[in-house]
Symmetry: C2
């Protein structure tokens, strides 16, 4: 089986990119979409993010065989309840959220009797909203699918094929492990970035203007991540609370150890730590998960 | 006055970039260079980082009117002592180190009687060594000069003009304030990045392979910074110990406050914090200190 009518609820960075990617890579598939924000719907129509932008969630889903919820974690349940009255009983329900256990629970509660297979494309930028999406967002990125037990294997296969056609590499994982892995590869980095950008803004002996001017020393990288959508990230930290707090505890212990090494002048501990962190960068580049050019190939290095 | 013979001691990312930039933007100026590592000297000759790569520090400096030490902070004193016997008495002594108080002290001790005006171009990439340099590294970046009191104003003016010709914007600052500003815009971000990459590598329930695969969720950005030169960064943290520990204390307090907000489910505190960190990103882009394209314009988003 494969999908012929895909409904996308939420037309921001993720939903918009899926809409554009389906039109680019699955030209026979019809796409409908809805966003709770009327301004976003207007912009989505202007950009042609989907074939038809509907004025209600029920209109958007009424003929679909796959619906993908692309709203912040805390809005998943309400979005699903809004679409429920018109959602065909055999449609597959999926999403793109960054935390899977809590979203799977919200969707199951809102849509009893439906087949729900959550997914998470590990792809994005710091931009959000209907202007942020682009068709190639998922190319060479991983999409983690977290099917419940038992699951509908035909629908699962179709979802895997769907994401692969959009350019993603698919991995199957249980939701609990997903939440732990993403706590370290995504949630903790965002929390740290948000923290350090806040710390730098609040100093009394260094001005914000100085922080901005001299940001090329490393700080500017953190500001990119800390420019991500505040609503989504508030939700992610609350929805994946336990795993995030566990990872944060580990991070704090490690930071305290390095802090002590600096205080006591333990040059060997510092050097050894800074040496072993290089290898992981090389692996990420070798696996095609980052740009190998210096500074990510930033344009300010062009001659 | 202006310089006609520039000696560069240390031919890595910074020294190599200065050599190439002088040849590109100051074609009448002669450059000589030296590096303690014979392999680096060979590679520096092959790349033509300077007009003449010398076999000793004394040979490199004997006719210079400006010498720039481009070695890690802890090596500054030894490098200056090695060059001292042949260094012309009226040559200006400068450097490119990331911490200014301790380096100014090392250079003054090694070169009594010389005019020393330390400088710090806030520019770099995660790469190091003789292959890492390029002529445009300093373009549209800030170079902070920290002249001692009193200083030779003619030589200071010439150093300002030198860096401006290489493409940098110059700022004058006292060394103590420099060390505080850079502790937050550069040193703390590096320490945090080194820490989180270490934390992620050490988990027992998430494999390193998973960390690498799903790094596009935010983690990969930190690995770039944590791939920086371990020797240099060990030295920086020890040389700017007090300021780094002060900033780290502030960061830890702020992180603890966000950790508490997550634990108690304080969504308002999280949302407010994540909203105000967006403004600083916009300012950095407006001031030309970062690439405005999503994800720094990484190549994996190209269609």
């Amino acid at each position: 089986m494969s999908f012929s009518n895909v409904a996308i609820i939420g037309l921001g960075l993720q939903g918009g990119s899926i809409g554009l990617a389906v039109q680019a890579y699955l030209p026979g598939v019809r796409t409908t979409g809805y966003d709770a924000d009327p301004v976003t719907r207007i912009r989505a129509r202007e950009r042609g993010l989907v074939h038809e932008v509907c004025e209600t969630a029920t209109d958007a889903v009424k003929t679909c065989d796959l619906v993908i919820f692309c709203v912040p974690p805390s809005a998943m349940g309400a979005a699903a309840r809004e679409a429920a009255p018109a959602l065909p009983k055999d449609a597959l329900v999926s999403d793109v959220g960054s935390c899977k256990q809590s979203i799977a629970a919200s969707l199951a509660e809102a849509l009893p009797g439906y087949t729900i297979i959550p997914a998470h494309p590990v792809a994005g930028t710091e931009h959000s909203g209907p202007d942020a999406g682009f068709a190639s967002l998922f190319r060479n990125r991983w999409c983690i699918i977290t099917p419940p037990e038992p699951t509908d294997l035909l629908k699962l296969s179709a979802l895997v094929a769907f994401w692969e056609t959009l350019g993603a590499n698919v991995e199957i994982m249980d939701a609990e492990h997903h939440d732990l892995v993403l706590a370290v590869t995504s949630h903790l980095p965002h929390l740290i970035a948000y923290t350090i950008v806040g710390t730098a803004s609040d100093l009394e002996n260094v001005t914000e203007s100085e922080v901005i001017k001299y940001s090329a020393g490393g700080f500017r990288d953190f500001t990119r991540i800390a420019a991500s959508d505040p609503t989504m990230w508030r939700d992610v930290f609350l929805a994946n609370r336990e795993a995030v707090l566990t990872m944060l505890q580990r991070f704090t212990e490690d930071l305290t150890a390095l802090q002590r090494a600096i205080r006591v002048g333990d040059d060997k501990t510092l050097f050894d730590h800074f040496t072993r962190t290089r290898a992981i960068r090389r692996s990420i580049i070798e696996e095609g998960q980052d740009d190998e050019r210096p500074d990510f190939g930033r344009s300010d290095h062009e001659a």
